[in-house]
Symmetry: D3
Subunit: 163 residues, 6 copies
């Protein structure tokens, strides 16, 4: 039995309890999970890549086999470089599924050795989205139900001047 | 690292290339996969459980870490008994997803230690359904694109008298 | 302001915490809610209409403005007879939505004075389905997370001989 | 330019204004449309194949290039025998789409020369379903908004004894 | 019986017959409906908030218990301030449903006393979208089927110079 | 029998094997297909309209009854000017379907004489999207599975400086 490595890629802008729930589930199925911030140039993010890495590092510090990283370029190339056999994706809703399905089939074509593995977060977290969290934080709402302490703190710093 | 076992449950009435594709993908992620025929009393099947076990055994004989079995009762109880940490499900379409999602959340509630893992078959197999295969076979159509040789043979034996 | 009455129709075979959650939400929006068991001849049910009325009566006894009833025939005819201005439906998933949408538009055509009102249960209950509950109970699983005490008891009486 | 023939297959149990709308649209795109009742053995129908042919013949008599027929066996075999280059399907909703998509891909594999062509009925008819129509007629409701006169008459004959 | 108030929030850029149909339905279920323009800073709109309030005021002047307003900040905070027990949302399609479901569950978490109520517009209006209306108006198409007179007039003023 | 003309409109930024597959299917059903680049001002494209026309012209040169063009303004106006009786759309997924359905119903209202005809690409191409292709090309991935030679070449010229 060789070491089984999986990548859990995402934007994590910010990380939510939904992401952490998916990560915990994945951490039981693989020997190592690399949770990795995608440095997409096209999507404008609230937090910098470095801020998101910092946020993730604190939020997942109790998951022993999780490692925080970032990547640019094609996900399948990154997965191969990291010797990962799987990419983890959380599925919350039908619209997630459609896009994810398309991505998974595209990645299968580009790199048959990397499998896409879908997990569903607990029903308590299945409706949380980073976009809604940002919208709530921006308007001074309480985000403590949705995101870990460190993300709440960093959101307050960003939007603090509004209140 | 302990041995990682997953259950791949289903009706397999009959087994299709879609099922085998999902099994192959799962077999790379886990140490052992138990592909297991559900003895559901409510669904009327074309093949008996024994016939389906025979069919599966031949169809997956080249996947070294796959084992064929059957089960009755609750899937989560069976998974625990087999010391499986995961249940594998193939996702082909949105309607699959909805039902599967509901099942996964129900099973999470009943048994938090068994994770549901979704995999997508290759696009070549994503549209194959056992029901359509039976319909085609019943009407004398060619099912060799959809099912392995043994299933094709057994379908011919069932419906042979019609042609 | 006249009294506002709504019908909450369903099969309730058995009633679940999801149904009760929807009923509680509706009870705050209307003056009276009639939760009503549809005597559909086509669908085979586990419990008789009388058993389901008994089950509902106990399960919803603390919701003061809820009344339990049963009906046969067209829902819109029943709603008019009861002077209801609305029909309540719980929406859990996309597949629910499609069928419900079709029903709502058909009922709009048959009877423009009765409005269909959709409510979403809390995320804790959004995945519960009566069919899965029956499947679990039949196989001796614990249904106490999904249904009220009275339903659990009545399910045990039905399936008791299996265990 | 050779003659372009399309098959419009269905159960038509009973025919609705939605079917007729799709047929009219198709009749402008092809030289001949064969609207054809599928003699499926598995689905239990309210009307016999002969009754459905009679109903369709009257209901579509004003569409000059439409022809009524019935078929058994595989749709693609029937289409080839009739020299049809296309199969027409009406799309009303997402759940239609999924099943239809699966069927279309299966038929593409079985017979690449027969194309599946999807049309959407007018919004006025997009929510009508034969099952709901039967349910309404059975309960004495008014189906004149949903089905042509001949279907209304034949439904009344079927369910007349109930009222 | 206390007064029942509902908020019908939206962008209304411009208001369509679909919105007005939903509002009319809601106006029969509640004592007062506040139709309220969301002052979202992130979404770029064609009309200013003031223009949209003016447009709405004229378009809904015949609905006696409707009041036009605008809001910024969190919808649930606004609903509480207005003593509303419900938020009205129109559901047209599956993609609407997914996003709305997510929003409704998020708002439930933030404020359990405000219920989200979904209504479906008549089939005649279920396909109308403000974005398509703007696209049509921009290209000189006839929008009189989709929007009330005042919206048509204001669209012509915006895009008049193009034709 | 008069000449039957269909428009196949799109962004084609870039053209993929999925588009070409849909075009080939359509070319068997109609006498002439005009594949036409929409000059949408709102969507920012990678290639200019002229580059996309050049790309399409080469990619579809072997389809004898296909003609390449571009258009601005309303699609239904363009279709009428070209004496087209149909607009061709490829359907790949549920999310496609929803938007397309809305568009088709809107266009039916604006111009009842132009029918929207949906075709499904082969399963080999059903997951390809122009956006993912651009993402892959930008990151130096191999797009030869997804797009014709000319598109591959032009993508390399665009992104060449990155590698």
């Amino acid at each position: 039995m060789h070491e089984r490595i999986a990548i859990y890629p995402g934007t994590f802008d910010p990380v939510t309890y939904g992401h952490i729930d998916v990560l915990k589930r994945a951490s039981k199925l693989f020997d190592k999970i690399i949770i990795s911030v995608g440095e997409s140039s096209s999507k404008s993010s609230l937090f910098t890549v470095d801020q998101r890495i910092k946020m993730l590092s604190q939020a997942v510090s109790d998951i022993k086999n999780a490692e925080v990283d970032s990547f640019s370029g094609l996900l399948v190339d990154y997965a191969k470089k990291k010797k990962a056999s799987a990419v983890i994706r959380g599925l919350r809703a039908v619209s997630d599924f459609e896009y994810e399905f398309q991505m998974a089939l595209t990645n299968q074509t580009l790199e048959p050795d990397v499998e896409t593995v879908f997990l569903t977060p607990s029903q308590n977290y299945s409706f949380i989205s980073s976009s809604l969290v940002k919208e709530i934080a921006k308007n001074g709402g309480d985000v403590s139900y949705f995101v870990p302490k460190i993300a709440e703190k960093m959101l307050k710093e960003k939007f603090g001047s509004n209140h």
